[in-house]
């Protein structure tokens, strides 16, 4: 049971937004979809939810293609960056309507979550602030109980406390009702611990698709006096380098064999640093 993306391509005029993408989301895992602005994250997710059509390629949910397929689409809920609810609709009516369309919708949970976040359910959805509009949508995502839930930048506009609450609620909900979750975000450091599997997209192409642990084990950071670091880096696959006075720090692909020479310090790369180094390396190519 999975979402299969095969050879997905999206072209707008001259721009290639997605370039022959192959991906699988399944196994009730939490996936992180990481990439810079314009990398193609939202385009990819919109096509999965059939909000946009692909130029080439297919998306299938549990073996069924999504295009114009109600049964496939009912299994995927997308928390997008935009509000698609009507102008005059209040939050409460939004919950009512979600209940109508999704029999598994946990209304009690949604109401409790709204209270926790301080979301006024009597307000019109379109009159909510950016943060609360995001909160409304992410509450839907947490309550809807579909086998696949996609969160595209779910914490836009949320303050630190609310972001923290969301991550905890997501873990809690996921523990009680496992589902396949795809989390697309800029805030890599915040979600690094949550995502079991990382997908990195750049300029419409998937450049990494692996369990998070594998990726962070794939690289390390070396720092020390510039001369010594340079010596050490010879023959290594260097991702990025930064210099401050006589001190140099470099991110290296692979694992250090044996120990490090004296005077050099070794530290693991967290996911965000790994991502930044990777982007720098790609930029330089």
């Amino acid at each position: 049971m999975s979402i299969e993306i095969k050879d997905l391509t999206k072209v707008y005029g001259d721009t290639v937004a997605l370039d022959h993408v192959f991906l699988t989301f399944g196994g009730d895992q939490i996936y992180g979809l990481l990439g810079n602005n314009g990398a193609g994250k939202t385009t990819l997710l919109s096509i999965i939810a059939d909000r946009q059509s692909a130029t080439e390629g297919t998306v299938s949910v549990d073996g069924e293609p999504v295009r114009n397929n109600d049964s496939a689409l009912s299994r995927v809920f997308m928390v997008g960056e935009q509000n698609l609810f009507p102008d005059s609709m209040k939050v409460r009516k939004g919950f009512d309507t979600a209940q109508l369309f999704y029999p598994g919708f946990d209304r009690a949970y949604a109401e409790a979550a709204a209270q926790k976040f301080g979301l006024n359910t009597k307000k019109k959805i379109t009159s909510l602030s950016t943060g609360y509009a995001s909160i409304f949508r992410l509450i839907l995502g947490l309550s809807v109980n579909t086998p696949y839930v996609i969160f595209d930048e779910p914490v836009l506009g949320l303050d630190a406390q609310h972001r923290d609450m969301f991550y905890r609620m997501l873990m809690e909900r996921y523990g009680a009702h496992p589902a396949t979750v795809v989390l697309s975000t800029h805030l890599i450091a915040e979600v690094a611990g949550l995502i079991g599997h990382t997908v990195i997209i750049r300029a419409g192409r998937i450049i990494k698709d692996a369990p998070t642990e594998t990726l962070t084990a794939e690289a390390y950071s070396v720092s020390g006096p510039a001369g010594k670091v340079d010596e050490y880096l010879v023959g290594k696959n260097v991702l990025s380098v930064s210099t401050l006075g006589g001190l140099k720090t470099a991110s290296v692909q692979g694992q250090p064999e044996g120990g490090l020479p004296d005077g050099l310090e070794l530290s693991p790369l967290n996911l965000q640093d790994y991502f930044i180094s990777l982007m720098e390396e790609e930029d330089n190519q």
């Binding site: 114009n68 509000n83 109508l100 369309f101």
Partner: protein
């Protein structure tokens, strides 16, 4: 009919009926006012005061056209968010338009038909509607049951056609970019004025068409239905590849 389609239809028809009820209540109020007015004004001397009302059908048609324009995009967006495919969203939109067309046609017929019986007794107020005016010779007699049925059918086809026309307009503007929107906006008044002139110049005589249309109400029904189908076909072509996004200025 799957679950998504059913939910989408239930939501849309409920929403549309709410608005249609408001419209109809206003119409009832207007007609009631007319009746009260007609019955209470005394004619003095030889001057006969006579008033008539026959605009319910037309008003309903305009109302459905406006509904078509106003609900289409927001309904399609809502359906998209709630996991209903584009195709089901579109057809449930049309089906809800049809359902409301039938309900408005029946309600309108019931209203005017029953009030006619009262007003004819008084003779100072004439109530009628489109069907009677075009096909029943605008006589001062109440319609027969068959004629009522024909009227309901005719109004239904008209209302459905107007609803789809509204949907057509809004989807057209949704798909077009800014430049084309301006072109279309200019082209419409041009066409309204220019097409009759063009037809005259080209020697195309539409008189046979009008004769055919007025010869039988079923011809008019067919005409509206065909027009509706054309709108639906174009709408689907427009909708198939549209990127469903939130409004630009939310």
């Amino acid at each position: 009919m799957n679950r998504g389609f059913r939910s989408a239809f239930r939501y849309q028809v409920t929403d549309l009926l709410k608005n249609a009820t408001i419209f109809f209540a206003v119409m009832v109020a207007i007609v009631a006012a007319l009746i009260i007015g007609a019955l209470s004004i005394r004619s003095s001397g030889n001057i006969e005061i006579h008033s008539s009302f026959n605009g319910l059908g037309l008003a309903s048609a305009i109302c459905q056209f406006v509904f078509g324009i106003s609900v289409s995009r927001s309904n399609l967006r809502l359906c998209t968010q709630l996991g209903v495919s584009r195709r089901s969203a579109f057809f449930s939109l049309l089906l809800s338009g049809l359902a409301v067309s039938v309900i408005l046609a029946v309600a309108g017929e019931a209203l005017i038909g029953s009030l006619q019986l009262i007003s004819f007794a008084h003779g100072r107020l004439t109530l009628s509607d489109l069907y009677q005016m075009i096909y029943a010779g605008a006589s001062s007699e109440a319609l027969s049951f068959t004629q009522h049925l024909n009227s309901v059918l005719m109004i239904t086809c008209l209302l459905l056609c107007c609803f789809s026309f509204g949907v057509f307009f809004t989807l057209l503007f949704w798909r077009l970019n800014k430049a084309l929107r301006i072109v279309v906006a200019i082209a419409i008044p041009l066409a309204i004025n220019g097409v009759p002139v063009l037809l005259y110049r080209l020697g195309i005589n539409l008189k046979p068409l009008f004769i055919w249309l007025s010869s039988s109400v079923y011809h008019l029904d067919l005409f509206f239905l065909l027009l509706t189908l054309v709108f639906i076909a174009i709408e689907w072509l427009l909708l198939r590849h549209t990127n469903i996004k939130a409004p630009a200025f939310a």
